[in-house]
């Protein structure tokens, strides 16, 4: 994320301590009975023209992060700076202007397009709202956006239900890029598509990024897709980022046991890349009652006493950020050598999960 020249341009998007908590209301008087900490102190930044991959299990809050950036859900804390604008401080008028520049593509192309509107109306509405040209100019923008995404202009006069899933996702992408945004949140944009279609849409997204100079936040649970697309990757667990690094660095030398568990779940055809399968026990705890200490400790094969009580420290090793007691110790032991520390943690995890005489997580 920060491996750029010394006179680095300020990142296009900077997120610091982002929190999105939802109240749980109960009873007749709808009193607040608790809080779901969907996003609980997330920080990252994305330089212009780059892609940050945000990965994690379902329910970890990655989708909420994406929506909070655009204030499709209201964050309850932290700050989001986009270009020169503080997103959370914007009144509704400023927010509207911002929404042209920050767009989103949702996971499900069957749900995200209004079934009652023709493609023309779907694409045109944003252009009208943001006053982007007269009728003829808007038509040209729409045709251009459709052609960019690989659809014919004839699509304009048809309804979403007349298209296949892949085509619908192309429409959803065209709808976003027609507004000429600078930043795009891609919320699992290929997860709902057939595998054969996924590659096409991913290629389309890569092309668009270079052609239009876009910056992406790519949210996914599919690590192979993220590896292909992302410049940097952040791993989320239960509302927090547990590890973040440049993509190559993270994939080569992961430091967090959770990241390792995620990687071990990725099927690979290359023998050299096969890892020992780390099966985590138990389910993700409820974000309304997150565990004390390290949030991952109830499922972590390396959990120690400190992990159960003390919040893990953040270690930042030249842009490779990790929140883990064990990783911190290994890094210190190996004098900040990430490769050695990664190998040591990996070995410990492997040992802890193959040793069948001892349960992997005795909480």
């Amino acid at each position: 994320m920060t491996d750029q020249g010394p006179v680095a341009e300020r990142p296009l998007l900077e997120v610091a301590g982002l929190e999105t908590h939802f109240p749980i209301r109960k009873g007749l008087l709808r009193r607040q009975a608790g809080t779901v900490r969907a996003v609980d102190g997330v920080s990252f930044s994305i330089p212009r023209g780059q892609t940050l991959g945000l990965v994690g299990e379902s329910g970890c809050g990655k989708t909420t992060v994406g929506r909070s950036l655009l204030r499709l859900v209201e964050p309850t804390g932290g700050s989001v700076r986009f270009a020169e604008t503080l997103v959370r401080d914007q009144p509704s008028r400023g927010l509207r202007a911002l929404r042209r520049r920050m767009q989103i593509v949702f996971q499900d192309p069957y749900g995200s397009l209004n079934p009652r509107m023709k493609v023309r109306a779907i694409l045109d509405e944003g252009l009208v709202i943001h006053g982007m040209g007269d009728r003829a100019a808007r038509h040209e923008r729409m045709v251009a956006a459709l052609e960019r995404t690989g659809l014919a202009a004839a699509a304009l006069d048809r309804y979403p239900h007349e298209f296949s899933g892949g085509q619908r996702q192309r429409i959803a992408i065209a709808r976003a890029v027609v507004l000429e945004p600078e930043f795009l949140v891609l919320d699992e944009p290929v997860s709902a598509l057939d595998v054969s279609i996924q590659a096409q849409v991913i290629n389309l997204l890569t092309e668009l990024k270079t052609e239009l100079g876009l910056t992406y936040l790519f949210i996914s649970h599919d690590l192979s897709v993220v590896e292909y697309l992302a410049d940097a990757v952040a791993v989320m667990y239960l509302g927090q980022i547990v590890e973040a690094a440049a993509a190559e660095q993270l994939y080569r030398q992961p430091l967090h046991p959770y990241t390792m568990a995620l990687f071990s779940a990725v099927p690979s055809v290359e023998k050299s890349r096969r890892r020992q399968r780390i099966v985590l026990s138990g389910d993700v705890p409820s974000p309304s009652r997150p565990p004390a200490g390290c949030r991952f400790h109830p499922r972590c094969p390396l959990a120690e006493t400190a992990c159960r009580e003390v919040d893990p420290p953040q270690v930042d090793l030249a842009g490779h950020r990790v929140h883990c007691h064990v990783a911190e110790r290994e890094l210190t032991r190996h004098g900040g050598d990430a490769a050695a520390a990664s190998a040591a943690v990996q070995a410990a995890v492997n040992a802890a999960t193959t040793d069948l005489s001892r349960p992997s997580s005795d909480v």
Binding site: F106, R116, E125, L179
Partner: protein
């Protein structure tokens, strides 16, 4: 489209035949007949002798078992003849023609009022979902919904016809007009309008409560969907999202509800018309049952069934207009 309509038409004919058969059977199986009801109310000293009674039953075709009577009725209907009322000595169609106007005046006004109020109320409630004002409205509507119209009618009568008697807010207690039929038409219209106010209120408020909650529930269902988020991401404001994206997607259930209210439009409310002695269809139905006036009962049943079926057909055809994904073929 043509095959769809033909199929629905044939299905409708069968449905009509089954409904009318059941109603005819039930009506004829009720104790008493038009003669005994009339005789019971007349002077006991002028009793009809059994021979005359038998003769009259034969005249009306009531001497044969009811399945035969039903077939006779059915064959006449097939020729476009709904028969004559036994007790009122008038063709049934003429009788309905006289009564349908007053009923449509009340229920039509109530229907239009209901939807004019329910749609903005439902939109508002859904836009303000969870806020204090919305919850007050919600509770008020539930109270109204569970408050029977006939009780409300009595309260309104007491307030407007008794307590406010002599003030400018006084409203007539019952009836459709106090003026003779030769009064000038503006005076007559005004008088009828004043008589209609209370029955219209009684018929509006229950369906208003129901419809606006129905709209709100449907909107809340739609608002959770992804395309609403898409609309917001485009920069659409809250009202634009609510009306152009959410409301348009709730039109299907609304059209169903509207289609189903078509028969009520002409059928009127038996209770309200009875309380306000409003000369409409509901009262006619009630009276014809009390008088065992089989031709009128059957004429009204036939008409209501026809309208119910037509309303459903209309709703199905309208679906394809409001939703591009629905095709009636």
């Amino acid at each position: 489209m043509a095959t769809f309509l033909l199929r629905r038409f044939l299905l409708g004919l069968i449905t009509l035949a089954v409904i009318t058969l059941i109603v005819y059977g039930l009506a004829r199986s009720m104790p008493g007949n038009p003669l005994t009801v009339q005789l019971g109310e007349s002077d006991p000293s002028r009793k009809l002798n059994p021979a005359d009674q038998q003769r009259m039953l034969e005249i009306y075709g009531l001497d044969k078992p009811w399945p035969v009577g039903y077939l006779q009725w059915l064959s006449r209907v097939a020729q476009g003849d709904l028969g004559r009322s036994i007790t009122r000595k008038q063709p049934v169609t003429q009788l309905i023609g006289e009564r349908v106007g007053p009923t449509v005046l009340i229920s039509g006004t109530a229907l239009v009022l209901t939807w004019l109020l329910a749609i903005p109320l439902g939109l508002y409630a859904s836009a303000r979902g969870g806020h204090a004002d919305e919850r007050v409205i919600g509770i008020a509507l539930y109270v109204l919904y569970s408050f029977p119209a006939f009780v409300a009618a009595l309260f309104l009568q007491v307030i407007f016809a008794v307590w406010l008697q002599g003030t400018r807010w006084e409203l007539p207690l019952f009836g459709m007009t106090d003026l003779p039929s030769d009064a000038s038409w503006p005076a007559r219209s005004l008088d009828i309008a004043r008589h209609a106010i209370l029955p219209v209120i009684c018929q509006t408020y229950v369906s208003l409560a129901y419809s606006s909650r129905f709209i709100k529930a449907n909107l809340e269902e739609v608002v959770r969907q992804d395309f609403i988020r898409t609309a917001r991401a485009k920069g659409a404001g809250p009202w634009r999202v609510l009306i152009r994206h959410a409301f348009r997607n709730t039109l299907i259930p609304l059209v169903t509800l509207l289609g189903l209210s078509l028969p009520a439009l002409v059928g009127g409310s038996v209770i309200i018309e009875q309380i306000f002695t409003w000369p409409g269809m509901g009262r006619l139905f009630f009276e014809s049952i009390r008088e065992r006036d089989y031709p009128t009962i059957m004429g009204l049943t036939f008409m209501f069934s026809l309208l119910t079926l037509a309303g459903q057909l209309l709703a199905d055809v309208l679906y394809s207009l409001v939703d591009p994904r629905v095709s009636v073929d």
